[in-house]
């Protein structure tokens, strides 16, 4: 008799778990720049506080960040990317496995061919501190149409960037980086954006 009761209890429990999982969308985000444990663990902690979120996991070494969220809330990919960015992470790739079986993902822009005629290489001073800053700066440049290659050095604060001068110019690059939260000599990040950076990214601002 006890065995039968246990069997049915497990059956009910299993069904409940399966039902619960069926009603959850699964989010997998590849994040970059998790160099500071105080920031990374803190952001993980803050995500755990979102109402309805479950199974928040982050692997600091690989940058694999995942969580589940109620399907009924239809959290969009754009909203996830914005939320992750707002929390200080830099999402490189986002994948959503919807409870109904659909899969959504974002694909990065294709880099410009190295042999394109108008390709120019420039150096630009970009304020920042750490690996999280580096990831954010490079993400901002990678979103721009026409960028071929970019690298930022946290010691020298110099961004080496090559881009197609037919479709992009230095000012647009500088503006995009400032919009992501990092001062350049030509454009400053807004106060709100700067304030929203994680504590390890609060660099010394460029004076006027």
């Amino acid at each position: 008799m006890k065995t039968i009761v246990l069997f049915f209890s497990l059956l009910v429990l299993g069904s409940t778990v399966a039902f619960a999982q069926k009603n959850m969308d699964v989010f997998e985000v590849q994040v970059d720049g998790l160099g500071c444990p105080f920031c990374a663990y803190g952001l993980e902690k803050k995500f755990k506080e979102f109402k309805g979120i479950k199974d928040v996991k982050i692997d600091i070494e690989t940058g694999d960040f995942s969580f589940q969220y109620p399907a009924e809330k239809s959290l969009s990919l754009t909203a996830v990317v914005q939320q992750v960015e707002k929390a200080g992470y830099t999402p490189m790739k986002t994948l959503i496995k919807r409870a109904n079986g659909l899969v959504e993902t974002d694909a990065p822009l294709e880099a410009v061919d190295q042999n394109v005629a108008g390709l120019v290489a420039e150096k630009m001073f970009v304020a920042g501190n750490c690996e999280m800053c580096e990831a954010r700066i490079l993400k901002a440049t990678s979103r721009l149409q026409g960028v071929s290659e970019a690298a930022w050095d946290s010691k020298t604060k110099i961004l080496d960037i090559s881009f197609d001068a037919n479709v992009l110019d230095r000012q647009s690059i500088s503006k995009a980086i400032a919009a992501a939260g990092h001062d350049t000599k030509d454009h400053k990040a807004s106060g709100d954006t700067y304030d929203g950076l994680p504590m390890c990214c609060k660099y010394e601002r460029i004076e006027e």
Partner: protein
């Protein structure tokens, strides 16, 4: 006349030599790298010594690991939630858990955690220091230090950049006279008396980039300058004694044990040992 000029020249040469010798006088006492101990698979954050074992918090892997002086792993405690800067006393290990806002005590060899009961709530405790009956906790997101003087808990500091304020404190140490705080993202060290009153700032002129960990010895103050890949050594009056860069990438905590300085590196998964060269 020639003799006079010669004598005068000799005097000048001697004087210049004396001045240049004074200028070049090297520091006579320095910490020197002696050995690097590899910690494969461990990203250390905090360090403590209990019964000749080094205990390291491995926040990335939610555990503590123990090793002997040769670097041989001897023990571990798993199932923690982002353990940070730990402390070790004769009573065992004290572990702040950043992810669960709790402090656990382990009376080794038992691995059952005993919770530290607090009336106040923490938000990401980053460090605990235990000195006799006194306790101090770096309460990271609340930008304060909670200090127990043996009788009462008091809250020290608030969010800000002014003297006596904090911007994400990550480490704390109680000594017989003071409470020392790694005011991480204000890039400085602050010390307070046991009433919680501000005493002094150290290292504000060193352009640190995240002062994440500290250790106070009898004569010196050791500060890990996390993003600048170095350890700064100060005298207690705030004067810089030495900058250690050799072998360090992301130094995060330090300790003195049996007259040797041990510095753990979060990124390189290493523990460096230094000796004091007289």
């Amino acid at each position: 006349m020639r003799q006079k000029i010669y004598k005068y020249s000799l005097f000048l040469v001697a004087l210049v030599g004396l001045v240049s010798c004074e200028r070049k006088a090297p520091p006579t006492q320095q910490w020197v790298l002696e050995k690097t101990i590899e910690l494969p698979g461990v990203n250390p954050i905090g360090i403590g010594v209990f019964e000749e074992q080094f205990w390291l918090s491995d926040g990335d892997h939610n555990r503590l690991v123990a090793l002997d002086a040769t670097g041989l792993f001897t023990d571990s405690i798993t199932g923690l939630d982002r353990p940070m800067h730990i402390d070790a006393t004769a009573a065992g290990l004290w572990v702040p858990q950043y992810g669960s806002d709790t402090i656990a005590q382990f009376k080794l060899p038992s691995k059952s955690p005993l919770p530290l009961i607090l009336k106040d709530s923490l938000d990401a405790p980053a460090s605990i220091s235990v000195f006799e009956q006194e306790r101090a906790i770096a309460d990271f997101y609340n930008h304060r230090i909670l200090y127990f003087n043996g009788k009462d808990w008091i809250s020290i500091g608030s969010e800000g950049k002014e003297a006596g304020q904090f911007y994400y404190p990550t480490d704390v140490q109680v000594t017989p006279q003071y409470i020392w705080v790694a005011d991480a993202y204000n890039n400085r060290i602050q010390l307070f008396d046991k009433q919680g009153d501000f005493v002094r700032i150290i290292g504000a002129d060193q352009k640190m980039n995240a002062a994440t960990g500290l250790f106070i010895s009898e004569n010196q103050v050791f500060v890990t300058d996390f993003e600048n890949h170095r350890l700064l050594v100060f005298f207690k009056d705030g004067q810089l004694a030495q900058v250690i860069e050799a072998g360090l990438e992301k130094p995060i905590d330090a300790i003195i044990h049996e007259e040797k300085l041990y510095v753990i590196d979060y990124k390189k998964q290493q523990m460096n040992r230094y000796y004091f060269d007289n």
